[in-house]
Every structure is written in structure tokens, then in C-alpha cells.
Symmetry: C2
Subunit: 466 residues, 2 copies
């Protein structure tokens, strides 16, 4: 009894009508035909042997063989010596799909993109990553595959604590780190924690990502923009907000570091009011000419949440980010994450191995070199083709801001779209409550294209610049 379940093959769920009119054979034939007709059994699927299915269903083998023969005769199945019984090709009539929303065809889906926000995905270190995955899987004890620590795999938190202290000046120990599925996941969690603490308003920068503001709004929080001027975000304007979300190392998208006076101002404000600083250190690894600006967290580990991500240094698809938390937030954040780790342990162990083996440093240094070359090519090309366009925010990161003559931003991004180049204007990063006068500009993500598309993207950009 049940021996068939040990047979290697495919599982097949069927509910033949109980022996009624026509008996078991008829019931089985109908059930199989129905499964094929509705597409539940895909074309070409190999069916279990009649012996195996008979044992699974607890009926005679002959009954199954006869039902198969009936359906072969009807054309639903095919039987060939050596390849068993399969669902016939073209037997399936899939249910009609819902009509897709008509795609706007003009100006056509851009083939090239300089939209910021992703690194060059074609340069993902697949071989080194797979090597780390193999080593991580070979050495992990079987208990590592169980439900894990809700804060994330200890191996990764330990590797990150060492790396962040060394490379970013963050004061971290493994117990103060919580792994998340990227920055957005962390912001979602923090939004819920802040709201539960009674926070109503979070100060944000005049320029940033709407998707982040939306996540805070989803948590029931209002976002209000701080002024922005030539010294960067003006943190002296902070007042009764319960928290502030900043990109101090490299303002996104403007590209400047937070002025030292304003770094002090925000820390003083947080200490005075008990508010929290969310330090979005999204691309801290990428700076080109000098020592990077240290993470704000080093100044006030009790008031700053340091937020990092593998999305820019490796790939967004990994869905791995981290928070370094003040001790007072740890329990609330862990509970808000859902009491259970939501990040796959295999990728976490792989990233830990990737960092401790030195592969991460090697990858970042090599990527930095490539991106710096692109940045240099961008500034040179713009100087040649559009000498009146000023390029800024180029000391670090994977994007630059190109100033434009007033009133030209929208027509230039549209012209780019017609050329097959996706390009974002600065206005799409402006907070609705920003007070600074709007400047026409482009935010050019020179890290985005693969090497093979980079020259073409740069050419297309130069063609549309004034």
C-alpha cells in the first residue's frame, strides 16, 4: 500500500468522481480530460506510469491503463515507447487571458537607460558569488536552514559589523544590526515603529525618492521637506518632527555631502528633542577622489539608525539591506519585522562569506574604477558637446546632476525618450512641500547601463543636451 509514492516521477492530483455512472474508469477519464482541457496539465507533461497512478489512487492498474488508452484515442494524450504517456501538444486550450492594458507605443519603450538607482547589473560578480554560495552551503550546519534569528543570520551581522566599522566608520556590533530585504523594507519597518511611538511627521529632504515618502505615508506618517540651498539640506530648520530621513554622505539626487555645520545641527536637534535620524547610506562605497564622508552614525549611535544596502554595491535583486540600530529601538524593530526572519538564509550566508573572504572589497574597488571612468567620460563629453551645462554631484555615487537652461527640462527628457533613452528630470525627485526655487536639471545615472550600452547612452544624451 502506498509504495507508489516512493516512485520517482511527477505528482499528479486528481479527483475522479466516486464510482457512479460509468464507474471508476469513466470517472478517471473525465478527470484527466478536464485537467488537460483547462490547462491544469500543461502540454508535454509526462504522466505517472499506470502502475504508479493506480497505487496512488488505490485502484486497479488496468483501470488507469484503460483510461490512458481512451484519452490517447481521443487525442488528449500521446503514448510513445520509451517516453511514456504525455499530454499531447496543442491539446490545451488555455482560458482566455484578461486583455492587457493597451501599451502606449509612442515614444516606444526606451532601449537605453540613464535612470539612476541601479548599478550596472551586467557586472554582477556571478562567478565569485556562486563560489561564495558553494562555500557557504558546504560549511553551514544543518541548523542554519531552520527558522532563524528574526534579526537575520548571525554570520552576516558579524561580517557587516566588521565591514561597516572598517569602511564606513559605523559603531556596530552584531547584536545591534537587523537584516532587511533592502532599504525599502527597512523604511517600512521603521515607519511602523515610529508611528507606534506616536510620531506623526518625518522631515525629509527637498529632493529624494517618492517611493520612500510613500512608504512613510503608508505607515500613517506625514512627510515635510527641509529647505535645500547651496550648503545642502538645511537641518537647522528641524523643529517638532519625530524623525528625519537624510542622505548625509551623498545627497540623493543632488550629490553633495551634508555640510559639517548641518551634521552638527541635526545631531544636536536629535539629542535635544529625542528624535531619530535615519541615515540612508545608499552608496557610501562609491566615491572617487578622496576619503569618503563618514557615516553620521559614528557621531551619535544612540540617535542614528544607519541604513545600508547591497542594492547599489551588488544588485537590488538580492533584496538585502541592513539597519544599525540604537539599543533602545532594537526590540520594537525586531517585533515590527514580524518576529521571524523574512530574508532567505542562503543569500545571507553567501553575502557573509563574500564579505569575509575579501570578495566584496575586491568587487567594490573594481566597480569603483569602472564607474569613475564612466563619470570622467560623462564630464568630458558634456564639456565637449554642451559647454554651458554644469555637471555636479560627481565626487561620489553612481549619478550626476546636469543643470539645464530654465524651462528646458521636460522637452529634453521627452526628446531623449524619442531617441530611445530613458532619462529623469530633477523635477520628478522634488518633494511636494519643497520651497526651493525649481532648477531645471537632469539626474543622470551613469552606473545604470551595461558596458555594451554605455557609449550609446552617452551619445544619445549628448544629442539631446542644449
Amino acid at each position: 500500500m502506498g509504495k507508489a509514492w516512493a516512485t520517482f516521477g511527477v505528482d499528479l492530483h486528481l479527483e475522479p468522481a466516486a464510482a457512479g455512472a460509468g464507474g471508476l474508469r469513466r470517472g478517471l477519464t473525465d478527470a484527466l480530460r478536464d485537467a488537460v482541457r483547462t490547462g491544469r496539465l500543461a502540454q508535454g507533461t509526462r504522466l505517472p506510469s499506470s502502475r504508479s497512478l493506480a497505487a496512488d489512487l488505490g485502484i486497479a492498474r488496468n483501470t488507469v491503463a484503460e483510461a490512458y488508452a481512451d484519452l490517447v484515442a481521443e487525442g488528449w494524450l500521446t503514448a510513445r515507447q520509451g517516453s511514456g504517456t504525455r499530454v499531447a501538444e496543442r491539446a490545451v486550450t488555455p482560458p482566455p487571458a484578461a486583455p492587457a492594458a493597451p501599451r502606449r507605443r509612442e515614444p516606444g519603450r526606451p532601449a537605453l537607460s540613464l535612470v539612476p538607482g541601479t548599478p550596472d547589473l551586467a557586472a554582477f560578480p556571478r562567478t565569485a558569488w556562486l563560489k561564495a554560495a558553494r562555500r557557504a552551503l558546504a560549511t553551514a550546519p544543518f541548523q542554519a536552514l531552520d527558522y532563524g534569528d528574526p534579526r537575520g543570520a548571525r554570520e552576516l551581522r558579524t561580517a557587516l559589523a566588521g565591514y561597516l566599522a572598517r569602511a564606513r566608520g559605523v559603531r556596530a556590533d552584531p547584536d545591534s544590526i537587523v537584516i532587511t530585504a533592502g532599504f525599502s523594507h527597512a523604511l517600512q519597518i521603521l515607519g511602523r515603529v515610529l508611528r507606534a511611538r506616536g510620531v506623526r511627521t518625518v522631515a525629509v529632504e527637498s529632493y529624494g525618492l517618492d517611493v520612500h515618502w510613500s512608504l512613510l505615508r503608508d505607515a500613517g506618517l506625514t512627510t515635510s521637506a527641509l529647505p535645500f540651498d547651496e550648503l545642502g539640506t538645511d537641518t537647522s530648520a528641524l523643529a517638532g518632527e519625530g524623525a528625519v530621513l537624510l542622505t548625509p554622505a551623498h545627497q540623493f539626487p543632488m550629490g553633495v555631502p551634508l555640510h559639517p555645520d548641518r551634521r552638527s545641527a541635526v545631531v544636536d536637534w536629535a539629542r535635544r528633542t529625542g528624535a531619530l535620524i535615519l541615515d540612508d547610506d545608499y552608496d557610501g562605497e562609491f566615491r572617487y577622489d578622496r576619503q569618503p564622508v563618514g557615516a553620521l552614525q559614528g557621531l551619535a549611535p544612540d540617535r542614528v539608525v544607519h541604513l545600508g544596502t547591497a542594492s547599489k554595491s551588488l544588485a537590488p535583486g538580492l533584496r538585502l539591506g541592513w539597519m544599525v540600530l540604537p539599543p533602545s529601538l532594537l526590540d520594537e524593530v525586531t517585533a515590527a519585522k514580524g518576529r521571524i526572519d523574512t530574508c532567505g538564509v542562503l543569500d545571507q550566508l553567501t553575502l557573509a562569506e563574500f564579505i569575509t573572504s575579501g570578495a566584496y572589497d575586491r568587487h567594490v574597488r573594481s566597480a569603483r574604477l569602472r564607474y569613475r571612468r564612466r563619470r570622467d567620460a560623462l564630464t568630458t563629453a558634456v564639456a565637449d558637446h554642451a559647454p554651458e551645462v554644469r555637471v555636479s554631484g560627481i565626487a561620489a555615487g553612481l549619478h550626476a546632476v546636469l543643470s539645464l537652461p530654465p524651462g528646458t527640462e521636460q522637452s529634453i527628457t521627452q526628446a531623449a525618450a524619442w531617441q530611445g533613452l530613458a532619462l529623469h528630470g530633477l523635477s520628478s525627485y522634488r518633494h511636494e512641500s519643497a520651497v526651493a526655487e525649481h532648477t531645471d536639471a537632469l539626474v543622470v545615472g551613469y552606473g545604470t547601463p551595461p558596458d555594451s550600452a554605455w557609449a550609446g547612452a552617452l551619445e544619445a544624451l549628448c544629442r539631446v543636451l542644449p
Copy 2:
């Protein structure tokens, strides 16, 4: 300028005091010493070459070389021909760790476990998984590494749609599937969606997992227990609840399938009242003697959310689960997931490859055979050692219920703990509002131990049975 950033080596963040008393050399020496003393630079860490660090900091190479020499002289660093400058061993005085909460030592941390909820993790198919990972990574286009579809990777949703239709009788197409980080993540999302729809109460079973009820409570929902009797959960008692959470294929932990009359009753109720059925199909793959009970979803795809997971068939650490959703819920669920996929794409592509290559079916069939042998050994051993103990819920799944004489449950689980065996009594799975008379029983997870510990766990169990 900046050439050093291309050097392969480690990144080192330092903030030497600006040239003040003692100049640059003194500032750098202090900063390095501080980094070593506080443990920010771990013992044995190799420092960048003086040329590289000088370029990074924008100072003269000699200044760095002199600072290194000072610290070697002070014993903080070591310099050896060929291995560069490193942080000296034992130079580090790590900050004192917070005192750990005293661990209760009696009766000692159990070495063996028959707690249900996890499969045999030592049997995770590491080689086959890694092979699938290699193939998935080799064939994925680079765009797959970008921020993905918030519903999850299309490749996995397609593979699951085929598998669930074939093996579990689920009517699914890739567009109606949302990938989650396991069942708990799905329940968290559904809880928020139900609450936002105005649902206040979710009916649950008299026996189940407290962690699931907690997740619903976290979302602001009340849980109320349905009666349980010899026919299983009594769904005819459903009234004005907005949803019901059920384990119809194999009640957890009682082990019975939902009675056909009660399957009809719950579907009728959902159709009549517009409520939703959450079908927790947690171990649908594991049944031993006959055709499994089909997923409830096939009866009413418009009212049932089918919930599956790789936690029992592969490992919880993968953090991969799925929901098959009625079309009317799709947008709300995707938005509640956070508009962005939270599951790593590499594991998703690997699982897709694992399913479509047939490795998943092979693994499930082989695991089924092993678990059935354990189940048979358990029933035989109990019949031999404790003939008055009734074993039930054994047709499927990775656990069984062992009835006990009234009043003995707690003393038996305690005796087991003293023997080094972790064992759960039925009472820990009882909902606070359950009305059924309490029965003393054990819930024995025979799938939990690795093969090497199984015989010992079974022996320890038999020793404590009455």
C-alpha cells in the same frame, strides 16, 4: 588623484583630526590607534599600503608611513616583509558586552527534538540546490537582478502555477500568484489587507499555532476559535467573521482532513457572506497511503486564498512561500507587500529551476519515503512500548498525535526535557477560546530530527510514555 581607489585591498574609513597640534601625522596616528583600541579594526586586519592610504586621504605617503611606524613601535600594529602592515593580535580591547540574560540551566538545553514544524534539515538537497542555483544564475538575463515584479519573479510564479495545478489541484495562473517570505509573511500581509477591508474577526481552528494568531492580532484582528470534534473543525459554526484560517488538507496539529460536509459548509458560507477562506496548505506534499486531499481552492478560486510554503518540503531558512489569490485581492495584497518585491531573486530563480527540472518532485518523493519509514517506526515503537497510547493523524504530514491518560501531559513533557528530548504537549497548540474539552496528548514531529538523531529521539520518547 584617486588612483588608489582602484587598488585591490580593503577599504578603511578614518577621520584624522584636521592639521592641528602635532599636524597630520599625529592626527592620523591618533585616529588609527583609536580604531584599533575600540575594536573597530579587528585583530589581524591588513591595512592598506601607505601609498594607497595616502592617496585615499590626499596626504603625503611619508606621513602615512611614519604614522604606521609609530604604531608598530607602540605595539598596535605589526609590519612583516611580504604580509604588509596588520593590526597586532591582542591589541584589541573590545568594549564589554552587555551581560547576557542568565540562561536557565535546568533541565538543560535538549539535545534531541521531536517538536513539530520543521522537516529534517540535514536532508536538505544541497548538491541539487546548488546545481539549480548555478543553472539559474548562468541563464538569467542581467535585468533579472534589478528590482523585480512586486509579486515575485515571473519564472517562479510560472513554475508554481504548473506545479500547484498538477500536484495540488489548485487553479492558478502566474498572474494570480504572489511570492512571500514564507507563510508568516503571507499571513502578515493578509492580516493588514483584511483589516483595511474592515474585517474585525478571523475564525481560526481550536488547535493551531499561537504565532499565527499573534500575527493576526498584530494586524488589529481578533481571532475566535471554531469548535472541534471527531469530524474535525466544525465550519457550520461560522457566522459573521470576515475570514477563516484553516488547514483543510491536514489539520495542524490534529492531523485529520476537513470532513467533506464541512468543506462544503465553509465554501457555502464564504459565497453567502463574501468572506475569505485562507487555506494553509503547509504540508500538502506529504501523504503516505493514498491520494492526498485536494486543495480547497479548487472548489472556490474566487473566495479561497491558497497558501503554500517551501518550509516543509525544503527548509524554512529559504523563506519562500506563495499565495494563490482571487483576482479581487491581487492589487491590495501587492500594495500591502510594499510595492516592491521583498524576496531575493536568486533563490526564487533557483526554486523555479528546481521545480521545472524535476528536482523538486524527486526530492519530495524521496523525503516522503523517508518520513513514511519514520512514521511506521513510530507507530510500531509506540504499540510495543505503550500499547494504551493511541497514535493518530498519521496518514499525512510530518507529525502525529499521541493520546495520553488524563492529567499526564505536562509531567511527560517535563520528563522528556530531563531526558534531553524537546517535546510539545497538545495544550500548547490550543486556542484560548477553544471550547472542546482538553485531551492530554503529545504532538510528535517525527520529521524534525536528522537521521543520526532519529533512533535516539524515538527511544527517549518511548522511555517517557506511560
